[in-house]
């Protein structure tokens, strides 16, 4: 039973379809990466899975349950967390308040959850009283991922977690993502830094014009000449 199964979905933002048969599969504690040119519909796939736009045709299954067009709130309740590509923190809230919002739907003591997140991102503990909007891009990305981890997700969806980061921070971020995977969490991420992402990925998909082009293990995709020439910048 796959954790997430996206089967041949079609849909868009009200106008023409942006997704024209996109499919993705994520198994438990796998890192799966979607790469592809700008405007291919990678972010749109993530939004469609998370219930932010209407899927016209096709199916999304989570742990074998049909969740096509479920509302975001229901996704969170099922244990799926999503970090959007941009504007992914609450700028006027402090770091800790951002994290607390991640667990809004849960009741009970938040402290153990906070501790868990602080264990993955120790820096956040030191800066927990700082306003998120005043932090650097890299720190904000950590806040965003931390917020998503607060629900103890089984599946974490990350849209370009390394966009705009320095090479050093990119390495660090990918390191964190592996740590997250090691906690037993499946990760589905969209990445522009395709080579590095595929290097840590179990499997990858190449998406173009809203449909799957290639699908293989990370290393195989990296070795694929056509993929390298067309999508990975030679």
């Amino acid at each position: 039973m796959s954790l997430l199964l996206v089967a041949d979905i079609y849909g868009g933002y009200g106008g023409a379809d942006i997704l024209k048969g996109a499919s993705v599969r994520v198994e438990r504690d796998e890192i799966v990466v979607i790469v592809g040119p700008n405007g291919a519909g990678k972010s749109t796939v993530m939004k469609a899975v998370f219930g932010l736009l209407r899927i016209r045709k096709g199916q999304v299954r989570y742990k074998d349950e049909d969740i096509t067009n479920a509302r975001p709130e229901q996704m969170v309740k099922r244990g799926v967390a999503y970090v959007p590509q941009e504007k992914n923190v609450f700028p006027s809230l402090t770091v800790q308040e951002n994290l607390e919002m991640g667990a809004f739907l849960l009741s009970g003591d938040l402290r153990p959850r906070l501790e868990k997140v602080y264990a993955v991102f120790p820096k956040l503990r030191d800066r927990r009283r700082q306003q998120a909007g005043l932090m650097s891009g890299g720190e904000r990305q950590m806040v965003a991922m931390g917020r998503a981890l607060m629900i103890d997700p089984e599946l974490l969806m990350l849209d370009e977690p390394t966009a705009g980061l320095s090479p050093l921070l990119i390495d660090e971020t990918f390191g964190r993502i592996r740590e997250i995977q090691a906690l037993g969490i499946g990760v589905l991420m969209v990445e522009q830094n395709a080579k590095q992402a595929l290097a840590i990925a179990d499997r990858g998909y190449v998406l173009a014009t809203g449909a799957n082009r290639h699908e293989d293990t990370g290393p195989n995709l990296l070795a694929n000449r056509e993929v390298a020439e067309m999508f990975l910048g030679g």
Binding site: L52, M75, F90, P91, M101, F104, L105
Partner: protein, 289 residues
């Protein structure tokens, strides 16, 4: 010397007016932050709060300050009712449709006040209070209570917004609606709380305004423009900016009476607002409008 005394005296009035405006402006700002529209019925919600408070006093014979909680309950219920009966159904369309609707709702609420309480002028307490004199400066006891009540209300709101889960969720939603959605913050519930708080704040402003002067069916409408001016000056969508905005507008309105007819006070607020719109439309604290 006389000018200085006048200035101090007017500044006291200004702070009192400013604290009333602040309560109104925080509500407008909060509602804007979460529902993305300028709530034109806010002034008349203040009026409702003031009159419900009055009725409570009349029926129970309770001490005057009871008007405050009673009015808050009345205005919060009114706000909830209006939201559930009307606004809720148009929220999915453009926010600007809500603006038209709230403009109509302002007139409806005012007419309800006229219908229930008549066009008469009321006041909470009979007679004129003897001021306390500090040298040449007179302080009316009511002004002290008004300021104190406003400070307490703002402090309570501050605690709510920074210490409770729901308060934080309200700030989160006003920061970034889309992210709140994917985080799983239940928008409908936050909206209901926003109306309850907005209504309570409006009633606070209305009752305190009634204590400062008198109750008329147009009292809230007449103060709506300065309230909006305060909210814009503070950066609309920024509740804390509303405090600064309210104080500046209140002081300017009162001090202007040194040179202008007092009936032009709302126009002073308007002129400041226009100046802000030209020079720094996002307000002092970078609003989100």
């Amino acid at each position: 010397m006389d000018l200085l005394i006048d200035l101090i005296q007017l500044s006291i009035y200004g702070i009192v007016l400013g604290s009333i405006l602040t309560l109104g402006a925080i509500g407008v700002s909060m509602i804007f932050g979460i529902l993305r529209f300028a709530h034109f019925a806010h002034g008349d919600l203040m009026t409702i709060g003031a009159y419900v408070g009055l009725s409570f006093l009349v029926f129970t014979g309770a001490p005057v300050w009871w008007a405050l909680p009673a009015g808050m309950v009345g205005a919060a219920l009114t706000a909830l009712l209006v939201d559930q009966a009307v606004y809720k159904h148009i929220r999915r369309t453009q926010p600007v449709i809500l603006l038209i609707s709230s403009f109509g709702m302002a007139l409806v609420l005012r007419s309800v006040v006229q219908l229930v309480w008549g066009p008469n002028v009321y006041s909470y307490t009979g007679g004129i209070q003897r001021p306390w004199w500090f040298g040449d400066i007179a302080i009316v006891p009511n002004h002290v209570w008004i300021l104190l009540a406003a400070v307490l209300i703002v402090a309570a709101l501050h605690l709510f917004l920074t210490r409770t889960r729901m308060g934080k969720a309200m700030r989160a939603m006003s920061d970034n609606m889309d992210l709140a959605l994917v985080t799983g913050i239940p928008a409908e519930r936050v909206i209901l709380i926003t109306w309850i708080l907005g209504g309570m704040l409006a009633a606070g402003a209305g009752v305190l305004l009634g204590m400062d002067s008198r109750l008329t069916p147009t009292m809230g409408w007449n103060i709506l423009l300065p309230v909006f001016a305060a909210a814009i000056l503070g950066g609309i969508g920024r509740p804390y900016g509303a405090i600064a905005g309210g104080m500046i507008i209140g002081l300017a309105m009162e001090i202007s009476t040194l040179y202008l007819e007092p009936s032009y006070k709302p126009a002073v607020a308007f002129v400041i607002m226009v100046a802000v719109l030209i020079v720094r439309p996002q307000g002092i604290f970078k609003g989100t409008l």
